[in-house]
Amino acid sequence: MGDVDPRRDADAIGQHGPGEVVGLRGAPVEDSDRSAASDLDPDSAALLADLTAAIGDLDAAPPALVQAAKDSWAWRTIDAELAALVSDSVDSGAVTRAGDEAPRTLTFAAGSTAVVLEVSAVGRTRRLLGQIVRPRRTQVEVRTARGSQSVTTDELGRFRVDGIPSGPVSLICRFLDSAGRAIATSWVAV
């Protein structure tokens, strides 16, 4: 599944490296696990160290984001099945330009259930128009980095949510006819 291992081209890590080196105890050490800042001549190492120090001063990961990443632990879903992103209109060659009004279409799938989501920009917020396929009444919890809100679909599984802040979003869909496990759509930035 694409979500599980995002490497498309090489599953076997060992194939990345130019070869193996042998560690102290004779165990093979993968060459590609070495630091990419190693084996530099002293001048280059000093220059890279200067650059690293400068970047550390000017462009470190913002502490608030690091804390938010820790807090994202709260979004663990124990009971829901993950619905992978199976298509995204921005991947299919349809170039969206600044100011283009065409909504972006995302499709997620888990088993025999799909969630189709149309995302439109409204200023800095996003409007989501969605549908559950196979259609049925569903409670949809829209999760963002800031919190969540819930809507209930109509009989055809359609829903609409306005005012979603731009950024990562994931939906938890709980089926009100109680047939089937809840599903959670893979996080995607909109």
């Binding site: 990419a36 220059l47 972006r104 950024g167």
Partner: protein, 193 residues
């Protein structure tokens, strides 16, 4: 400093241990941020990539097949999110030039260093950042990623930039050489007197 390996922390997080999760975030935040910034995303888009990448890990932590290579998984995930955001095209702000920040934000001083040493160090860093801003995009991407503390592995760089492991070393050498040439050619005004 927690000495547990990344694989051990991943397995503990998989079993529900929040403290291990926090340690993973601390260990790899610099890398994930650098991947976003090495794709020339501005702060707001980089923040989206950063958050999305960690949320993806939350949802997939039980499915990671090679926990010892979490850094590669995070790098590749962040890269794909960067490309996705770049393709949407309509993001709000232009890429911020990190060189512009060199002057606005004086280096955080090491309190134990003498004032002269602090000044020299911050001048040197400003020079390096200004020269960095004149490099090619490809060199900026690679060096921005390498300038992460702790430095990424070859595998992580390869996954972050879709660059064969074998070409990282030679490209790194050329880019550092170019950076050195730029530094020699254009000292800051006043620094040569």
């Amino acid at each position: 400093m927690d000495e547990r390996t990344t694989a051990e922390l991943v397995l503990a997080a998989r079993d529900g241990d929040r403290a291990s999760w926090d340690l993973l975030v601390e260990r790899y935040s610099g890398l994930v941020w650098s991947v976003a910034r090495s794709h020339r995303l501005g702060p707001s888009d980089a923040a989206d990539v950063f958050q999305t990448t960690w949320l993806r890990l939350v949802e997939n932590v039980a499915r990671i097949r090679e926990p010892q290579h979490l850094g590669g998984w995070l790098s590749a995930t962040a890269r794909h999110e960067c490309l996705r955001l770049l393709r949407t095209g309509a993001r709000e702000q232009a890429v911020e030039d990190i060189g512009e920040r060199a002057e606005a934000d004086p280096s955080r001083a090491d309190p134990s260093a003498s004032p002269e040493a602090v000044l020299l160090a911050s001048e040197r860093r400003a020079e390096v950042v200004v020269a960095f801003g004149k490099l090619s995009r490809r060199c900026q991407s690679l060096l921005r990623l390498l300038a992460t503390d702790p430095a990424p592995s070859y595998l992580e760089v390869s996954d972050a930039l879709a660059m064969p492991v074998g070409s990282i070393g030679p490209t790194r050498g050329r880019c550092l050489q170019h950076l050195r040439t730029l530094l020699a050619d254009s000292p800051l005004p006043g620094s040569s007197t």
